[in-house]
Amino acid sequence: MTLPLVYSALQEGHEILAAHEVAGEAFEPFLPGLVILLPLLGFILNGALALAASRRSADALRGGAELDFFEGGKRPWTHSLPTWIGPGVIGLAFLIVLVNFTRMLGADLHEPVIRHYWTWMSTGAFQVDAALQLDQLSMVMMLVVTGVSFIIHVFSVGYMGEDQGYPRYFSYLNLFVFFMLTLVMGASFLLMFVGWEGVGFCSYILIGYWFTDKAKADSGKKAFIVNRIGDLGFLVAMLLLFAGFGAFAGFGTLNFVGVFAAAPDALVYGGGVVTAITLLLLLGATGKSAQIPLYVWLPDAMAGPTPVSALIHAATMVTAGVYMVARTSVLFALAPVGGLTVALIGATTALFAATIGLAQNDIKKVLAYSTISQLGFMFIGVGVGAYAAGIFHLMTHAVFKGLLFLGAGAVIHSMHHALHHTHNDADPQDMRNMGGLRKFLPITWITMWLATLAIAGIWPFAGFFSKDEIIWMAGARAGGVSGGWYTLIWIMALAAAMITAVYMTRLMIMTFHGKNRTGQEEARHLHESPWVMTVPLMVLAFFSIFGGWINVPHAISDSFLGGFGLLPMTEWLHEWLHPIAGVATEIQAANAGAFVDRAPFGGGELLWAVLSTGAALIVVLVSARVVGGFKILPAGESPEPVGFKKVLFMKYYVDEFYDRIIVQPLIRASRFSWKVIDAGIVDGVANGLGNLARALGWFGSLFQTGSVNTYALFLAIGVLVILGVVAF
């Protein structure tokens, strides 16, 4: 029913695109400032409601009773208004973005449009403007951020509806969207950094949303502190860009337009400075986007509410690193080592995290490692110079991983209710306690399967096109400079893609298939979520199916996989992002060789596409059979994992390793500087000076007798001394 509709809609988009090539109007942005301000307004309004609510509950506490806002089934106004304000402001922002998007589609835009509002700071040669940049890349990101945010806000209405901190939750979520939009729309490195830090902060407060649980509050701290390491890299990279180092004099500006225009002439290809800048930027990206070595915070970030995991820790914030590399593509193209490192880190992370995902039992942990792994794929994309492919995967991943997280949320919501009603204290997130849920949550079950097929890379779902594009582009550089590395990356990416299919199938089978393991009494309380939660799932499922069709490569589009040209938007995103990535692609082609249309061991794009989707399908079917055959016991009765499975379950002991070599020495060093340096030396000197002053004062006070004669005597002696000095 929907298929022809979609087809005609896509066809229309394609025609608009075709029209814009001849038309060539100037792009006139429509209220871009409001896109940012609306979420901020939502934050202020919801924040005011949260304060009002907290005042009421504080009054109740002073009276000696804990306040239940939902007592008697009624919602007070502080808890009913956010339902409209929270998703409302984001929905409006999304509509404005849509208007801008259609305008940009109809326009002929080669240079970014800068909206300058005021000068933020100006000291000497250093000037930063509060300015927004509207171009094809920021437009794509705005669409993803506001669109997915809106859907997840709506879902949150159902998921968080019975939480006492409902207005507080929405104020945080709105604030996050505000900072995320600042990150993608800011016209300079520094504004991007403002958004970068802002989303980090919002991530921190939302992970620790249930802060009375110390483990959750600690997870928030961990995310925040690990991100600081990456942010240091970003900061130093900005300093290098502005002030330069050695022979490179610096750009003297942090505006994207200024830096990228001057970069090809100012920086030596493959030079030390540009390599350092890109590696430092990469350090920042590994922090925010949870890549090796700074990925450890993301699995712990699952302590937050599940919609937060979907929005911040899957769809938007964690992709900021990918966006940053794509945004600074010129610099990465000038630094081949930087680009290769990005791709290598991405490939390693993709494979590494995927294997951990195989052995996790917590449904959100599996998805967390899956996210890390998929972010690795995006890093491969932008690292090999296929910026459109990286951003493409970012978009499709935002949709299908958002869907998977929301689906997991629906499952957990239902499990939580069932366990709560029966006073069972089993873990509602542990997949070993689930099983056979498809009967109780049919919509969740179907939509999550669609997302699973998408992430596993099966034709014609969204993930197939985006992931295949990345793998293909990695292989397409195997014939050029440092081709051996790219061959390795290509193989690792293929392996990671296969493992993705395994762990996702395992998740689906353990959750939805087989025998129900919740217990009979509990099973009677299991139920499908309300429409406010299932509709978002269906919307995302729709895009998980068709979202990949916006960027079908020619080789596939013209073959049977593309219905011989029936898929409408061939390489649309690629062409759309050309004004952004074009310069970088040229630099790369001129120095490191262009992409070759050939896989490392022969074969064309179509052959490998068929092979990979076929292999993925087989892997899904086989692992469904294998996992279906396992005897899974509820968490309380399961034996401890042994052997290599235990290594995977313990996440390769990386957390323990970091604890041993970084955290514990740091704690010891901190204790040393506290006890010895601060309490001993610094305080000793300070207290010593104080005691000295006190002793001197005591000595001086001996002269203050209170007797007039003594004073008169000293006065006379003083006068005599002064007279003596003056006279002789």
């Binding site: 006070s701 203050q704 007798t705 209170g706 007797s707 007039v708 004669n709 008169a712 005597l713 006379a716």
Partner: protein, 97 residues
């Protein structure tokens, strides 16, 4: 002529200072201060003979201030006496740390 006047002035000032340092009676100490002031007045007058009329002008200032000071100072001494029934300054040492 100037020398003699200055010597007399210095002598009177020294007498005033000495008296202030060694006597314990508040009224005597007070009179010693008056003596010092008038010693200075004497040198002002002596100098004015050679340097101009301003010296005598200052004498009037000093006398005015001394009169005001005498009024306030004696009032304080009287109230101290009413309180302690003595004007021996050795008894007054409360104003210290």
């Amino acid at each position: 002529m100037l020398t003699e006047a200055l010597v007399l002035s210095a002598f009177l000032f020294a007498v005033g200072t000495f008296g202030f340092l060694v006597r314990r009676n508040a009224i005597i100490m007070f009179l010693c201060i008056e003596l010092q002031l008038n010693a200075v007045n004497l040198s002002f007058v002596a100098f004015s003979r050679y340097l101009g009329i301003e010296g005598q002008l200052y004498v009037f200032f000093v006398m005015t201030v001394a009169a005001a000071e005498a009024a306030v100072g004696l009032a304080i001494i009287i109230s101290i006496f009413r309180h302690f029934e003595t004007v021996n300054v050795n008894n007054f040492n409360l104003l210290k740390w």
